[in-house]
Symmetry: C2
Subunit: 223 residues, 2 copies
DNA sequence: TAACGATTTAAACTGTTGTTTGAAATGAAT
DNA sequence: ATTCATTTCAAACAACAGTTTAAATCGTTA
């Protein structure tokens, strides 16, 4: 089924490919071991043979996500102004999630995890999601001139994350509420730019008018 | 289990109460009829006796949501300026979803539906969610001076919805990424105000500076 | 070729799900 | 008190999940 790999590769890798696809589509509980093995061209017992159980296979898929994040974090330019970095990150994320050729399956898996966490999450959360989260807080904090732990910084970060995730999480109902929306590459880029514009409009109120800070940051400490 | 109702009420109503709670907690597939019947103090066969099957019971819970939305829509003040209405709606929604006393269970059910739609959704979507969605588009459209069908209007609406939903959908992981965040009534109001401020900052760029429209609305038709 | 470890296979096992059954209990009308 | 429809109950049902088993197969090495 995975076109990028040959039949000569190991069953273990084929299982991981199929599992990644299945978990991205249906989440941990929704995906079945039988479906995974079928798509991998392997026997039902293969997942037990190579990974012990379903949760271990799932954890391994999550670890791929970790590795993918690492290289991506290393690629980002740390010298560019934070507004540019922010826009680039938003665009990269959305492109990855909606790319028709090679969709960002690990990230879609993480989206399911976001709504319905599994025990496997605890193992990889701290070494994958938190660094990304912290770095994102630094970028936003640099724009608004507040520390990463400030409540306003965190609220802004979650406002941006919420906008982006929404297009993946709510895709099924979005398709019914807004059927004309087709996720072409151009459309995805427009959405990404919109999220960046929408967010920067608020973030820039901190920089341009220090005297008139937005009300939710005027006299507040972090919780 | 439901403290608000007496033991004298019908089994059917107790089932609906328990089902609402269970579906709000675990979604349609995650909730089990055994758990529902146990919490309702009824026999396993009760759901079949009163509703036929699980999906019918679920549909009935969704219908409650519809009725609740109707009265809420009737309550909102149509004469107030759209910015005020927008802020009020955001606050009302978040308060309802995180109210400790009587949480907005039907809305939390709908949140699960948002990520994992069921066949029951089609029946009630058009007569429940779409009117709310359309009305929300009108409010945002009134602020930015664009029709409800304009792409920018829709993108803004989804930016706001995405922010709000995020705090419900991503609650589990949010608790790990931001453990200090406790959803007290005051905190929920602060979040609601932040979402309103964050969003209005962008929406007001349309009103204040017609000559310098944001780039994503300058020369674009709806898709 | 023979032997042996690694892999694959078909089948069964255990547990849980939604659903159904038929008898027992209930309660109001005759 | 007797009837009769309504409601409740314990038990079993079929379907499906993840997991396990033991035999069959494969591939490499002696």
């Amino acid at each position: 089924m995975p076109a990028s790999r040959t039949a000569a590769e190991g069953t273990r890798e084929k299982l991981l490919d199929a599992a990644e696809q299945a978990f991205a589509d249906h989440g941990f509980e929704g995906a079945t071991v039988r479906e995974i093995c079928l798509r991998a061209g392997a026997n039902i017992a293969a997942v037990n043979y190579y990974f012990g159980d379903k949760l271990n296979l799932y954890t391994e898929v999550l670890r791929r996500f970790a590795r993918k994040l690492d290289v991506e974090a290393a690629l980002s330019d740390r010298t560019a102004p934070p507004e540019v970095v922010l826009r680039a990150i938003i665009r990269m994320r959305l492109r990855g999630m909606f790319a028709s050729q090679n969709p960002d399956l690990p990230f879609r898996v993480m989206m399911h995890e976001w709504a319905h966490p599994t025990p496997a999450m605890d193992r990889v959360l701290n070494e994958t999601l938190r660094p990304l989260y912290d770095r994102f807080r630094d970028i936003v904090g640099a724009i608004i001139g507040l520390p990463r732990d400030h409540e306003t910084t965190r609220l802004c970060v979650h406002s941006i994350i919420g906008q982006a995730i929404h297009y993946v999480q709510g895709r099924p109902i979005l398709a019914k509420l807004w059927p004309e929306l087709t996720m072409t590459p151009e459309q995805v880029d427009r959405i990404a730019d919109h999220i960046a514009d929408f967010s920067l409009a608020y973030l820039h109120t901190f920089k341009s008018a220090r005297r008139r800070l937005p009300r939710d940051a005027r006299e507040r400490k972090r919780p």
